[in-house]
């Protein structure tokens, strides 16, 4: 029996509303690649990745063709690299091997150049952190992340203190490409082990050898569904409408994840229920909030609207997926969302409002260009604030800032592709130096004592 309306609805979501599966990410454990030397480890790393993921792209295309739903990205995440070596030379050799392996597998990004230093950093991890700017500048596909805080450990302010230096140095080393290195570096609080989205994806230490994690998307489909609800629908109706759409989107993610895991001989990990925008027209999270009734995102009411959206996406998606994980929620990057870019341009969206919104979205301050002359301690203070939101609210938060050398407020940076266009946003210039330079760790909040 043909259910005509169901078929039409699905195909409208795909053809008109930009509904797609955003990423199939293969998580690969590299623990069994550790050898006596950095060169030995790198050789094993290259071999294991290229063997494990050799069919990732072709299987992705096969599934895309069979189900008629676009699968935008096929990516790889690996064990945090800081755990695989000792010296800076070791880490740089592994960085090169990862980049080459990703290229040879045909994927555009590989994540996991990562350190988990939320409580403290070992000598090796400090050596690793020294290499991040150079590794990001000499590679094309490598993505890096640092977990600097957790609800259980508090905020490692010594680690946060290093992040400003890493971000500024990365910007400087990639200044000929508008500091694109910074678009591949993210600082987390409460990083998750099974996130399929870049730049923060890594295959956590609790993960298996080969895992498929799938990130779904579909802001355009949610927006269209809300438009159909009409201006008179109350919040209960809006929430129901989002839940139903999220359910349908996630079911496709579940189908794709199951198929991909089976065909790639991997374990099915999780579905990430995120609404991930792209710069394409009609694929914006900001526009969803505006359809809810805000004249421009960033207006007062934006945090409440985003909170409801985020919650309804999770409620709808949870029933549709067997294993739900990753970041799961609405992303609010600036450069990757046409509505956010417009809102910054018309003066309705500030960094401070975005910070408030990160307390109820799935991640944090994402893909935000700031003036190139922003001091390191201000960047570190922005990170500390974001970590505090994550730690106290027991959620993941993140910061991906791009201090663009030579650019200032009002100018724009074109990254192209999914990374989009970033308007340079103003930051509060009052110095936080006396606070940031104290050193040590902000203790874990009272909610961490749950045993």
């Amino acid at each position: 029996m043909i259910d005509r309306s169901a078929i039409l609805e699905t195909n409208e979501m795909i053809d008109k509303d930009n509904f797609d599966v955003r990423t199939i990410t293969m998580g690969i454990s590299l623990f069994d690649c550790i050898a006596d030397s950095g060169a030995g480890t790198s050789e094993r790393v290259y071999k294991k990745i290229t063997e494990s993921a050799k069919n990732l792209v072709s299987v992705g295309r096969e599934i895309e063709s069979e189900y008629g739903v676009p699968i935008v990205n096929k990516r790889i995440s690996v064990t945090p690299v800081s755990l695989l070596g000792k010296t800076e030379t070791d880490f740089m050799q592994i960085a090169d091997a990862l980049d080459k392996a990703a290229g040879d597998c045909g994927v555009n990004f590989i994540g996991g150049y990562t350190a988990l230093v939320h409580k403290g950093a070992t000598t090796s991890e400090n050596a690793f952190l020294n290499t991040v700017p150079e590794a990001l500048s000499v590679t094309e596909r490598l993505c890096s992340s640092v977990n600097a805080a957790s609800t259980r450990a508090g905020i490692n302010m010594d680690a946060v203190k290093r992040m400003g230096e890493i971000i500024k140095k990365t910007a400087d080393l990639t200044k000929d490409r508008d500091a694109i290195g910074c678009a591949k570096f993210v600082v987390f609080a409460n990083a998750v082990e099974d996130n399929p989205f870049m730049a923060g994806a890594f295959n956590g230490v609790g993960e298996g050898d080969r895992v498929i994690n799938v990130g779904v998307s579909g802001p355009g489909a949610v927006r269209r569904a809300l438009e159909r609800c009409g201006a008179d629908a109350d919040f209960g109706e809006l929430s129901e409408c989002i839940k139903k759409t999220a359910f349908k989107i996630t079911r496709v993610g579940q189908l794709v994840a199951r198929q991909a895991a089976e065909r790639l001989n991997a374990t099915m990990g999780i579905i990430d229920l995120s609404l991930a925008p792209t710069p394409a027209v009609g694929d914006s999270v900001a526009h969803i909030l505006e359809v809810m009734g805000l004249s421009s995102v960033g207006a007062h009411g934006s945090t409440a609207a985003l909170a409801m959206l985020n919650d309804a996406v999770k409620k709808g998606g949870l029933m549709a997926g067997v294993y739900v994980g990753g970041l799961s929620g609405a992303f609010i990057p600036v450069s990757e969302d046409a509505g956010m870019i417009e809102a910054v341009g018309r003066g309705s969206l500030s960094l401070e409002k975005l910070e408030a919104m990160t307390s109820v979205c799935s991640v944090g301050l994402d893909m935000i260009a700031i003036p190139g002359d922003t001091p390191e301690d201000i960047i570190e203070a922005i990170i500390a604030d974001e970590c505090a939101i994550g730690v106290v609210n027991n959620k993941t938060t993140a910061v991906r800032l791009i201090p663009v050398p030579g650019k200032t407020v009002g100018e724009k940076v074109e990254f192209g592709g999914l990374l989009g266009t970033a308007p340079v946003m103003a930051v509060n210039k009052f110095s936080p130096a006396g606070f940031i330079n104290r050193g040590g760790r902000i203790p874990a909040p009272i909610i961490s004592n749950r045993n």
Binding site: M1, I2, D3, R4, A6, I7, E9, T10, N11, R61, E62, S65, E66, Y67, G68, V69, K248, R251, V252, Q254, L255
Partner: protein, 89 residues
């Protein structure tokens, strides 16, 4: 394996004949068909059985897309599971 073939575009003579002719030539059986024309706009959905077809899915998809380009229609084929996943619990 069962799939859904969707054909959309401006109405003209012989669409059903040409699409089903192509499917017949590659051993794909049409099990059900729903078609309508509104304001000169043709829309058809076919449920097909591919179990006797030896060709690769992407080749079939390309052949249908090529026929669509030739006759000025959009034609696509999708595994029926995507619709079942989204619309059935």
């Amino acid at each position: 394996m069962r799939a859904i073939v969707s054909v959309v575009g401006k109405d003209r003579m012989g669409i059903i004949a040409q699409v089903s002719g192509l499917l017949f030539s590659i051993d794909i059986n049409v099990m059900d068909l729903s078609q309508s024309v509104m304001n000169d706009y043709f829309h058809m959905i076919m449920l097909v059985d591919m179990s006797n077809c030896a060709r690769k899915f992407e080749d079939i998809s390309a052949a249908l897309a090529a026929l669509g380009a030739e006759i000025g229609m959009s034609i696509k084929i999708q595994h029926e599971d995507i619709f079942n996943a989204m619309h059935k619990i």
